[in-house]
């Protein structure tokens, strides 16, 4: 299969050889394309990566250097900003909070979402699936107001429980959506065979389907962790002083009169780099999750 793809991909350059006299203009055009492609793609990569590099560079500068246009590229790097953010501003607490909320909202969403996705896929429960997927469409603010009403009356605002619940609202529909398309593409033969051999349907799900679904579960889990880690709006309203997540902590940096750019950038690096490293090592899963359902009709 891959063989046919690559041999079809190559003829771009190899095509002129079998038909030399008829098309004199073609070889020229085809040789220009690879160069054009390399140049444009290099520029694209540069455009996407340069701002991130700039963020890291600024985080290594003192505030004096940031204000000095002569020191745009040449400066003495310092870790002072990181010491400031991690030490004096106590970012370890926020890192833990973000991690804790992302972890548990992902775990609980998987526990609730995976069986649901399985049932919706195997029994083609389209209407039920729509209910869960509605959560992807609804603007989060419209739920925040009633949640805030309810949770403030229960005096729960500011605790981890509320934050985890609110992040599950993002994670659960995502997991159901991803796992549904995963189960749709998983053949039922193995389950059927297991049932013939004496397993109950639930047993077949637990012992056959779930172990086969590890790639799908990884995709769903990683993406839901990333989305929870990056979530800002829910935590902005529902977190308290002790449960503040990283995005909220970064946002609070600018509430003061003048911006401490160096520390702000190092805080931004602290929140983005872990997630980028995770994405780097789990690239295959992240991409398959983000593009799930794209090639179905």
């Amino acid at each position: 299969m891959t063989d046919t793809v690559t041999t079809h991909g190559v003829p771009e350059g190899a095509l002129p050889e079998p038909t030399p006299p008829q098309r004199p203009r073609r070889p020229h055009k085809l040789r220009a394309y690879p160069i054009f492609r390399v140049v444009v793609l290099t520029l694209t990569v540069l455009l996407f990566i340069a701002p991130l590099v700039w963020m890291v560079v600024a985080s290594l500068k003192t505030n004096v250097d940031i204000y000095d246009p002569d020191k745009t590229f040449f400066f003495t790097p310092t870790l002072e900003n990181y010491a400031n953010v991690l030490g004096r501003n106590n970012y370890f607490v926020f890192i833990f909070n973000s991690f804790w909320v992302a972890l548990w909202s992902t775990v609980f969403s998987l526990i609730l979402g995976v069986p649901a996705a399985y049932a919706m896929s195997r029994f083609t429960m389209h209407r039920s699936a729509m209910v869960v997927l509605m959560a992807r469409i609804i603007p989060g603010v419209s739920l925040l107001v009633p949640w805030y009403f309810i949770f403030a009356n229960l005096r729960l605002v500011g605790g981890f429980g509320v934050l985890i619940l609110s992040h599950m609202f993002v994670a659960l529909p995502l997991i159901v959506y991803l796992m549904m398309s995963f189960f749709d593409s998983l053949p039922t033969e193995l389950e059927d065979a297991a049932q013939v051999d004496g397993l109950t349907p639930i047993g077949a799900f637990l012992r056959i389907t779930l172990p086969l679904s590890v790639p799908g579960l990884a995709t769903a889990g990683i993406l839901s962790f990333i989305f929870s880690w990056n979530n800002f709006m829910f935590a902005l309203v529902l977190s308290g002083a002790n449960t503040k997540t990283l995005p909220v902590a970064i946002f609070n940096f600018v509430s003061y009169a003048s911006i401490d750019w160096g520390s702000l950038m190092s805080a931004a690096v602290i929140v983005t780099v872990p997630i980028m490293v995770i994405a780097l090592f789990t690239q295959k899963y992240v991409v398959s999750g983000l593009t799930a359902g794209a090639t179905k009709g």
Binding site: P115, V141, V145, L165, F251, G293
Partner: protein, 306 residues
């Protein structure tokens, strides 16, 4: 073997049979109840709030005022309608630019080549970066005095721009930020679609002497149609609801002149900066209906054209 001796075993068997028989709802119900409680109840509450004059403290008494809030919002040409317009401008501008750029990059990445892996890794980075941090990052780059953007322009003799702090330039600048962050998503989706296409139609068109543009316009694009629509729908929903980068760069009310105040930012501000829950709920209901209407139109057109 089947002699019933142990009642415990039979009880378990009966339960197991029951569970397996009802597994459809046993599996689906917990998630649906969770979603129902967290969405249906709050949504109903929002509808109710939009009919009251709730404001101030969360525990304050509120009065039922009927559709007064809706009339007030519909007559509000100062904040509401401009916010609607900005929501459309932001979403339309960002999604259009992302689709064009995304399609271009996806086509360039389509045929395998050396180093392809690195390009894919590179474009994945903006996508997973935390939006608030991204907002802060661009805030520094676009700073009128110390930002790299103006320094870059000065190399070409272009005068400094106000970028995010300008009343007319803030929204286009934020569209640019959105395009920077989310074009990769379109690239990945379209690339997944492109790689699933069969090569024969394209090959046939090439043998028939079609130019690259003709092959794209009349062969690849029509075949890719459903993927393109999925990309537009997914990105459109998120773009309409964009909040993080707007709030992180311009703060409350979308800046001092409300220059980037979209419906989502407006509703959030009404709710949590001004505690005007009644009006906020009204705006949210209208916003929600708007999103549903747009999504319905896109998917309806898709069905009608089949």
């Amino acid at each position: 073997m089947a002699v019933m001796v142990d009642t415990k075993v039979t009880a378990w068997k009966a339960y197991s049979t029951w569970a397996n028989h009802h597994r459809k709802w046993l599996f689906a119900a917990p998630a649906m109840i969770f979603v129902g409680l967290l969405i249906a109840v709050p949504l109903a509450w929002t509808v109710y709030l939009s009919l009251t004059d709730a404001q101030g403290s969360v525990r304050a008494e509120s009065k039922f005022v009927g559709i007064a809030n809706y009339l007030k919002v519909f007559g509000d040409t100062e904040r509401f309608w401009p916010a609607v317009l900005r929501t459309f401008m932001f979403t339309g501008g960002a999604v259009a630019a992302e689709m064009v750029l995304g399609m271009g990059i996806a086509l360039l990445l389509w045929r395998p080549f050396k180093g392809e892996k690195w390009v894919r890794v590179a474009i994945l980075m903006p996508l997973v970066a935390t939006p608030v941090a991204v907002g802060m990052m661009w805030r520094l780059i676009f700073d009128p005095n110390i930002g790299f953007a103006n320094q870059f322009l000065s190399w070409f003799g272009i005068p400094p721009q106000p970028w995010l702090s300008g009343q007319t330039t803030a929204l286009p600048t934020l569209i640019f930020v959105d395009v920077w962050q989310w074009t990769p998503m379109i690239v990945l989706i379209l690339l997944a679609g492109l790689t699933s296409l069969s090569e024969e139609p394209d090959e046939a068109a090439r043998i028939d002497g079609a130019s690259s543009w003709q092959r794209f316009r009349f062969v690849t694009l029509p075949l890719l149609r459903s993927t393109v629509i999925v990309a537009i729908v997914l990105r459109g929903i998120d773009a309409l609801k964009t909040f993080d980068i707007l709030y992180a760069t311009k703060g409350k009310g979308g800046g001092s002149f409300h220059e980037v105040e979209t419906l989502n930012v407006y509703a959030f501000g009404l709710s949590f900066d001004y505690n005007d829950y009644g009006i906020a709920s009204t705006v949210l209901i209208l916003f929600f209906l708007l999103i549903i209407a747009i999504m319905w139109m896109v998917t309806y057109r898709r069905k009608a054209e089949r």
